[in-house]
Amino acid sequence: MTVKKGDWVRIHRVILTPDQRAPQVPDDTKQVPLEMWVKGFADQEANIGDEISVTTITGRKEVGKIVELEPTYHHSFGNFVPEILTIGVTLKEILFGGDADER
């Protein structure tokens, strides 16, 4: 068992299947389920992919399949975007570099 009782995990559950979705939902969204992810302390031993119950940080019980043990944030400052670099250079030239580029 990779997940021990009390481990911090992220679980996943389907809230509404495609046929249960609200009538006003656009067609592309109606093709897919409404899914949910939440984090909590595992209530029992399990493996990744097993369905278990967890206790969330507010003390609620939730059930779902374990998708991650000790979930980590992966968002970042992204990849280099060369266009951004030129904005400051251009603006400083317009503002402080004389009026040559006023157009």
Binding site: I15, R21, T29, V38, G59, N79, I94
Partner: protein, 471 residues
Amino acid sequence: MRDNSYAAVMGRKNEIMKRAIGIDYTTFEYEGIGFDYERMMRETGYTLDEMQEIQGRTGVGNTPLLELRNLTALARKMAAPGKGARIFIKDEASNPSGSFKARRAANAVYHAKRLGYKGVIAATSGNYGSAVASQAAMHGLKCIIVQETYDSKGVGQPEIVEKARKCEAYGAEVVQLTVGPELFYEFLMLLEETGYFNASLYTPFGIAGVETLGYELSMQCRERYGKDPDVVVCTNAGGGNLTGTARGLIKAGALETKLVGASVDLSGLHMASDTQFNKKSFTTGHTGFGVPFSTMPDRSDVPRSAARPMRYMDRYVTVTQGEVFYMTEALAQLEGLEKGPAGNTALVAAFSIAQEMDEDQIIVVQETEYTGAGKHIQPQLSFARENGIDIRFGNPADSVPGVNIILPEHPQLIKAVDLDMDKLKKSVIKNAVANHTRELLNEEEIAFLMAESKTDRAYVLKTLDELGVKY
């Protein structure tokens, strides 16, 4: 066993809400189409003094008003001689949770605590979530934030993923969902399960919390420049920002100040579409929320929204995603202020509108927001590029939301585009009378429509004639 099917839960909406907010909205309803907005704000909200006290106790408010001298100088280079108003920005990022939303959350969470709720829940993918989480931490309440985060492939908007992290940093539970309006269904079930307070963005106390912002603006300008700002620009989504700011300005007696709403143009993208979810780079402050919430304010998560921007708005403009990203970089490079992009929507509009105004006039952008991993121009542009969006320099007028992001080739190409106020006002009236029950509208109902659309009696009657509604 409770029936938790979609239809059954939505059917219990009113009773769940009544228990979760503690306001009986029916007491403010007129017999016909309207309701007594001012009485609702008076009887369920807080006075300005009380709000300043509540917010002050948690370090919210009294944010600096900064003059953007280099951006003003840049605007003057583009403007006709004698034109180019002084541009100021209210640094709301210096609030505890990093945005003006702390003001709304401070009141809502204080109210929840006072009424004896054990916790608060808010449905929001934006800065409001972290604001509620921060306030809940201060008041020792539990907090759950429900977010629309991912598309069906499990790809999350970097900006929203960052906000989830921030909520968790304050000890909140974050429930993350895929795209769809049924977020409201999950939200209702959580309210029912926990018995927590609905810290909705649209309650009277939430909106009243922003009144302090408008009031401070007026006081800061009067103290330093001996007059009120000529124009205040608000980024507009659900309408609470503009509504609260306008009400605060009115309470300060700043009756001449013009209110401008600004939204990022996302026309053509459907907000509930799974495939279009990650084609946009702005998750709030855009026309997808701004226009429908302005013309139909009661589409929110409470029976009667306290955010009613069309009562106060003098002008409504759109700007493009590329212009906002560009201006965010300009703010960092020319003013030394690194802020999150969403809060700079109004700054783009102000940069453009300042050029129509005289040099001795004052235009204020009333917010900034924090920035960080995910919630910053580089990850957001990088994410857009990964999602097939064409990013290039050019004329922002050629922008197509969901297809490209055009960064202005030159700052003189930055232009706020006016929405047709006449059309918007007519739409407000049309939506308000859509479910009228009385054969002939009475005086109370006509007065309600005048206030809702900020128009006069003749305008309302003419519009009713066009709609074929009798009075």
